[in-house]
Amino acid sequence: MVNALVPETAERTPRARAVRSAVAGRVRHRRRQTVVAYLFLAPVLLFFAVFLLLPLGFALLLSTSRWSGFALGDIEPAGLDNFTGLFADGSTFLTPILTNTLLFALGTVALALTGSVLVATCIDRLRFQGVWRTLYFLPIVTTVVAVGNVWKYMYEPGGLVNGVLNAVGLDSVAFLADPDTALPSVVVVQAWASLGSAVLVLTAGLKSVPESYYEAAALDGAGPVTVFRRITLPLLRPSLLFVCVTQFLTGLQSFALITVMTRGGPGDATDVAALEMYRLAFGYGDWGTASAAAFVLFAVVLAITLAQLWWFRRTGEDA
């Protein structure tokens, strides 16, 4: 309901005064709104100042300092020593740690993407899509501690996976104990756990493909493979990009699953950059190198994300 008071007051006052007071009112109103807006934003801005800007500055400071103690007064400037130390001859940061990180992320994305495209296109033809999706969703709402432990147990010699292998006449595999199979084994779990959200995003993408495209293709007598390659895949590009970028981001930085399942072992077969950073800081008290490692990983994450965006944009008209 519109208030009738406003036009009334305007009518009663002389025109010039009305304009002036209207302008003054608007200024006052705007100033008041500015104050209110910043009041509403205050908690958020305060938080970002204390828990975003301050930590970033602190991390930058630490990454260029030597600090092996715990007293703030002991922080000494060290230039870029921490960064050069990470890449010095004999340092394990580049290989195997960064390599492991990339392989972990790449493996997860490849598996989750293939799996989710397959499942999403199939679900799209079925009844009760909601029920199916819910099933695929269970791992996502489950804590990583549960996921990691259940799979760790399933990978054991007396666990489910080896039980199935033995039942079909195959030899047992020491999945997590063998340095050659440990990383792929963890990748499978990470992909398993992230399949649900990828399926969800892709089914949404499929819904947006107009039915008429399929009808036209059917009239042309195109087989299902052709339809998939010529119509579904190209139109799914934005969703694929989305899944790709987000899964890569997660894969590059997540180490909770690895902490739970292998603690980076055996040896350093599953050691990834974020885990190494955590260990450098909280195991060895080497805050400087840990912060430097975090920034290097951040640079890698940023570079890979931008590269994906650029690549998708270049190869497709819209992304």
Binding site: R30, Q33, V36, A37, Y38, F40, V44, F47, F48, F51, F58, A59, L62, G115, C122, R125, R127, G130, V131, T134, Y136, F137, L138, I140, V141, T142, T143, V144, V145, A146, V147, N149, V150, Y153, M154, E156, P157, G158, L160, V164, N166, W192, S194, L195, S197, L200, V201, E211, F242, T250, A256, A274, M277, F282, A290, A294, F295, F298, V301, L302
Partner: protein, 295 residues
């Protein structure tokens, strides 16, 4: 539950059923294995040949898990941290989202870009500085004004929640929904003499309830399942240990012959509340994941 689009096109899609069902089985089997193992007796788990079903459905492992875990404390900590995080994210997101969507003020674009930029920084960048900031929080946990001498915020449950109290994505999400509220509705209320706070509380919040439920659910699940930060804070102060951390600790600890079943029992107990909540509210949750895709 939409009807499959091509059922009319090509009869029953057997192959698709096969693929989807296989995937679903692969997804669900580990959960079944978890539940089955949680009932297995001593010497039954981890021995060859593998058996899926337990010999008897015995609740002994659950009793052992409850006895060894100090579940009340773990639950209390998890609930407190999760509640604090969820409440704070909802509150700060809807306040900031409203300001960014519906109020006009200098610096709005800048703040909005800042919010978007915060989503860019990965959490691992902040582990070390956040921890040290909490430790050196002035006037807390025995610290002096300069943040030295004590344990800072790490002595309190707040330490579990503090780094997650504001969420850039949450602000972005609520703002996008609040933009869609017609300005006339708000203007009318203002003319009625309602202050901005009243407008926000009486009109904007009720209108954006669905998105707030979605955001709340996403935040709840993430906070409940959070492990790495909770592990760090609990290492500093075991009194604030959360469920995931406690259960992970359990596994190095008990009699090896019964470890696995007891751990599984503990896991079932910790996973159950979230699973139930998800099944009840899955519509909202699914939408949240579609909107964020950040999982």
């Amino acid at each position: 539950m939409t009807r499959g689009r091509s059922t009319g096109r090509r009869g029953v899609p057997w192959l698709s059923y096969l693929v989807v069902a296989t995937g679903a089985v692969l997804t669900v089997v580990p959960f079944c294995d978890m539940v089955m193992t949680s009932f297995k007796g001593p010497g039954e788990a981890g021995t060859l040949p593998y058996r899926f079903l337990p010999r008897a459905f015995d609740l002994a492992n659950y009793r052992a898990a409850i006895r060894q875990l100090d579940l009340p404390a773990l639950f209390r900590n998890s609930v407190a941290a999760t509640a604090l995080i969820t409440a704070s994210v909802l509150l700060t997101s809807s306040l900031a989202g409203y300001a960014l969507a519906k109020l006009r003020f200098p610096g709005r674009d800048f703040v909005f870009r800042l919010v978007l930029a915060t989503m860019m920084f990965p959490p691992f960048l902040f582990f070390v500085p956040h921890f040290l900031i909490l430790v050196h929080w002035p006037l807390a946990g025995g610290n002096d004004l300069s943040g030295r001498g004590g344990a800072g915020l790490t002595v309190s449950i707040a330490a579990l929640a503090v780094p997650f109290l504001v969420n850039g994505f949450g602000i972005f999400l609520t703002r996008q929904f609040m933009v869609a509220i017609p300005d006339e509705v708000l203007e009318a209320a203002r003319i009625d003499g309602a202050g901005e706070f009243a407008v926000w509380w009486r009109i904007v919040v009720p209108q954006t309830k669905p998105v707030l439920v979605t955001l709340g659910l996403l935040t709840f699940v993430d906070a409940w399942n959070e492990y790495i930060w909770a592990l760090l804070v609990s290492t500093a102060n075991p009194d604030v240990m959360t469920l995931p951390v406690g259960i992970q600790l359990l596994q190095d600890h008990v009699d090896p012959a019964r470890t696995t079943p007891i751990v599984m029992a503990g896991l079932v107990l910790s996973v159950l509340p979230v699973l139930l909540l998800f099944l009840l509210l899955q519509k909202y949750y699914v939408r949240g994941v579609m909107l964020s895709g950040l999982k």
